[in-house]
Amino acid sequence: MADTGVTRTETALVDGNQAAGWVAYRCSEVIAIYPITPASPMGELADEWAAAEKSNLWGDIPQIVEMQSEGGAAGAIHGALQAGTLATTFTASQGLLLMIPNLYKIAGELTPFVLHVAARTLATHALSIFGDHSDVMACRQTGMALLSASTVQEAQDFALISHAVTLKARVPFLHFFDGFRTSHELNGIIPLSDDDIRALIDESAISALRQRGLSPDRPQIRGTAQNPDVFFQAREACSPFYEQCPGQVQDAFDHLAERTGRRYRLFDYDGHPAAERVIVVMGSGAETARETARFLERERGERVGVLTVHLYRPFSIADFVTALPETTRAIAVLDRTKEPGAVGEPLFLDVVAALAEARAVGTPRFAVEPVVIGGRYGLSSKEFTPAMVKAVFDELTRPRPKRRFTVGIHDDVSHSSLALGEALDVEPAGTTRAVFFGLGSDGTVGANKNSLKIIAEETGQYGQGYFVYDSRKSGATTVSHLRFSPQPIHAPYLISQAGFVACHHFPLLDQMDVLGTAAPGAIVLLNAPGTADDVWASLPRSVQQQAIDSRVRLFAVDASRVARDAGLGRRINTVMQTCFFALSGVLPADDAVERIKGAIDKTYGRRSEEAVRRNHAAVDQSVANLIEIPVPAEASALFDRRPPIPAHAPDFVRRVTGAILAGHGDQLPVSAFPVDGTWPVGTSQYEKRGISAEVPGWNAELCIQCNKCAMVCPHAVIRVKTCTPESLAEAPVGLRSLDYRGEEFAGSRYVLAVSPEDCTGCTLCVAVCPAKDKANPRRKALEMRPTAEIGATASAAFSYVLALPEAPRPQVPLAVKQVQLFQPLFEFSGACAGCGETPYLKLLTQLFGDRAVIANATGCSSIYGGNLPTTPYTVTPEGRGPAWSNSLFEDNAEYGFGLRTAFDQLALQARRLVQALAGQLPEALVEGLLAATGRDEATIAAQRERVVALRQALAGIDGLAAQRLLEIADNLVTRSVWIVGGDGWAYDIGFGGLDHVLASGRNVNVLVLDTEVYSNTGGQQSKATPLGASAKFAIAGRASGKKDLGMMAMSYGNVFVAQVAFGARDQQTVRTLLEAESYDGPSLVIAYSHCIAHGYDLAHGLDQQKLAVDSGHWSLYRFDPRRLAVGERPLVMDSGPAKARLADFMANETRFRVVERDDPARFRALLKAAESESRLRLERLRFAAEFQETKDK
């Protein structure tokens, strides 16, 4: 954007999603939404604005409709457009791919429409939620216009340009900005007024749209089928619209400039007017490139420039070429996507073609035809810094620059990457930079967003906030990057040298390079207890050395204590925020305190006066507890930061995973990585995070060995084993043991161990523990104790117990108590503390893990199941364990079905080959191999032994058949195929596929982890959301009932269907999984999973599960088609009629309570409807349970 010198008006601090979303909302009548990161906030905001009765430009509240998938949203939008309304939607990544069929249709029908995209990486070798242009580039052929915004300001302005031009041009627009970097960056923008928006929207074009709308009063037909004689010509008929479109966009830009002073062009050139080297780039990277070019010109006199592409489709060759300086000698085109196998990436190819075209039509523009090279940068939000921009400019100075390159990585395989020079600071003087390391749960990010607002409002400075989050959901870390400046901030990259660094959680100093971000002389603030000497002494040696070398001023506040004393628990944000203001001097101290208190009143005033009181108290105590720590001349600590991975970890884990954990993932070269996205399993065991201050301690003398604690532990932190007394001979001090209670292992010892470094402190184990001290019932067999007190002893005991032999599987009875003796093959995941899903998965792996193949739908379970750096699925001592993979969100049932089909085919082949080779194999072996059909532990163990024998026998047989059988012999052992996903997948986006797979009759097991909401994307309603619950997209409380997925599946008759809730009846859960797996056909197990999106302390998750069942909210049942065959009733109810009030269940959860408090009358009506719906559902089940097939006499 060119600076036109127009006086600055009031700015608003918003992120890209808000900026674009608001304009879209004001310009639309129908908005179809579906959650997908990072575009979800646009839909959520639209829904909130509608709930708050905010109107569009014409005084109406837009219709907001949530669909079952992005494909559904696109279809709904297409319909709304054809009826002549102004419609919009928001999406990203895979969601955008699902819309593509409709984009062709909408464009082919020349329909005015704007699709706002927070551009995100497409899943290839791995999923990534972060930003690049691979999704929008997959749409460049659809006929949509593609308009790219580089900044938050542009995200707002270009949203309007898109809505304005599409009406006139009839070409639909895909308006995009970079996911996270722009969609989630808070920045000060100048908001558009309603008058600005109105001025650009052409009412006559809306009338024309209405006229074209389908109406029985003037019927038309659209969507005909055409034949070879006419299709081609008819397809060409739209061409003039695309020819006119760029001019119309420029007209709208000019109109906007007249009103606001912000001037844009289709291709904006910045830099030296006689530049020789030019970078062509699109999106947020353009800002970095522009600022760097200006710096190089200003400071080093380099003749460089940057051409920012705004309107990428339709691509105007004339505008592109004339935007380049005539002096251009070399061009580097940067693409934020990868197109393997192509001649080059898309923008590069367009630039090459455009220059060739210009040359061909004889437009002499350049003295010397420029050299054009193309490179990739910034995939999946990889940082794109001034040093990288400089590397590209430098490459253009070389006589033979790399024709294709990458920048920002070290490619030691294809040697595509450019070498980087030293870091460049291109930001204008006067920019304040601050970095905050915190935990998600301590409120750091919220406080920093708050500080940005305060500073922007109080000082009139521009502010920028960007927040880096963890991929783990428990003990998650956050890093906040804040900039303030009297000038607009154009720095879409992380801060590497900050004048203020805060560490809100002391152990992070050990885990992350906190002081590495401190500029020389920086102020460093720590949350730490003790005196100045204590704090200094507790710093690892290398951290001390950094403090000395960087000459930092070091401060500490015991924020944890101040917050605790003020009744704020772990929320230390207010304390740290107050200290930030006190130390940074951004505002006068007294002003800052007043403003913080004002912000507290504003944030909490309506919601909790108690929270206001407590936060005010924390503010008042903060500065009083702040101390300065003198930095001595030499480091004194005798310890240093721990290596992130223990030395005994496998080589790959140490080299690669260890580097990622240490925060050095960016430095790993291409050669370090698997070429196809295949990673080793069982890596979470090497990441000891130690995130809980309290962990369960075992009072063995009280223990009754029920093993319920091990059953409910979401992170597999509690292990129980039986062993011989002799095997405990070298047990560490602190490992206690008991005589095993139970006949199956009579005479052995029983041990229970807890891993303090993996525990998240959720307390579910203590809650479920039934064993109380009779003299002091407050004391149980498990009780929470300070980690500092028992951690070391418990860790040693845990390691010892892990090394003890596993129980002999065939001898273990299959009841809750005994199955906990099976090794969990899902451990230490990054799931939320107290997660209600993971206990099911853990149990699944205990029961069937050594033969399981898991197809996992995208969602919470794929994130804690497969997000780097470490993953939780692991192996037995024999090396067996679940093979896990994630295809997509929408196709998981089909994906699992494909796996099943393949295994069936391989097993058939193997059996045929065994038969074919029968003459050369021992007869008993052949008979045994072919006869083994059971799925029980003994049968499987015996068959495994036979396969070993088979392999030995095959080794001595020549021929292709023997060789082929060797390759697939493992398939003679049963494969247990599990299709796992959440309710968003099963009830909504994947339902069609799930339905088909269930109908197929194939032996697949489906586990639906039903949290009754889209949990992973932040609590949007699904069709599993119960009546009366508030969720995103159903703010006022869902008005329709939860879909009865189980009943639908039962209607097929040959599907095993069950509902379970481990917190209500754990034995039923165990039994159900066993029965489901043993059924030789499709099984569907719907598992009630408590979730943070329900809004209560998950320490009470088990009680709440019980209440869910007792109140009739959730029924436990098993429908087993096998019973039909033997003349029994197929449906067995495992829970009785409601014996508690549904209202009492609902009263415990915020998702229901907010509705009650907000609109009591509506809630009463919803409660009544929910009660009646629950009664009806129970009645239906009871009726079905009475059903028995009538046999013909």
Binding site: S40, I129, G443, D470, K772, G1018, A1093, D1097, R1153, R1157
Partner: protein, 334 residues
Amino acid sequence: MDMSTRYLGFDLPHPLMPGASPLVDSLDTVRRLEDAGAAAIVMHSLFEEQIKQDRLHALLATEGPANSYAEALSYFPGLDHFALGPEAYLEQIRRIKEAVRVPVIASLNGVSTEGWSDYARLIQEAGADALELNVYFVAAALDEYAATVEDRVITIARQVKQTVTIPVALKVSPFFSAFGGFVHRLEQTGVDGLVLFNRFYQPDIDIERLEAAPRLELSTSSELLLRLRWLAILSSQVKPSLACSGGVHTVADVVKAIMTGANAIQLVSVLLQDGPNALAELRIGLERWLIEHEYESLKQMQGSMNLSRCPNPAAFERGNYMAALQGWRRLNPL
């Protein structure tokens, strides 16, 4: 028969009304109570502490996981959207006011000074005809003394009286060492009525699970005796009108309470047990009793057995204790 009475400044056709309980949570029950002839409706208590805790917990539950994870910066729609306050209660006042013609007496249990005053004002604004302050707390702290507790109640009463213009009654517990003197102080705050007495929910113990188990026991007529004593002592000596609450189950119970000086009778257990119609039966029974016993009006009977008019007033004081013990001995000779 003229059974009219005056309570909190309202002229009521008779003294019977439902006491504060979950009964009035359902509008249908409220209507049935009015049909049964309830002279007024006393609403279930609004608990300030519960609201505060609710709001704080809702905030913690929603704010705790927010801003932690890139895909889900929150788990609930627009955190500012919901105000978890006393709205539901205020709405219920409005609905009951619309549904019935009799006076509606709201009930408030506060914990903080601001809570008592602010909520009292909101309740008045919502249309309540009167306010019953439910001063319910267990002084369990070993460093809290009787004077502090009494002072606190007096302060609350005074503040609420200064805040609202509708009549204010105070529902108190009998656990004050010098209850008479305490009532005397209360009277000076200007409160319009006293409700005798609050019944504490007593926790029970689950001997299998080794847990304390909150339990609600319905009252019996035996609990009436304590009320009768203090009605008799106070009714001739204090200005605020008096309601009897706790232990009224039969017509005889009603008669006793009126005779000792009650202006109003609040019924809960009997209504929970037998439904709203029990109120109608007691009302009809009272009328029949008055006729059979040839009373001219209820007023004639009101306070007839109080301390100033009872033929043996000492029975309400220490004498009653001695007499009762002796009577017991007579029935149980050693």
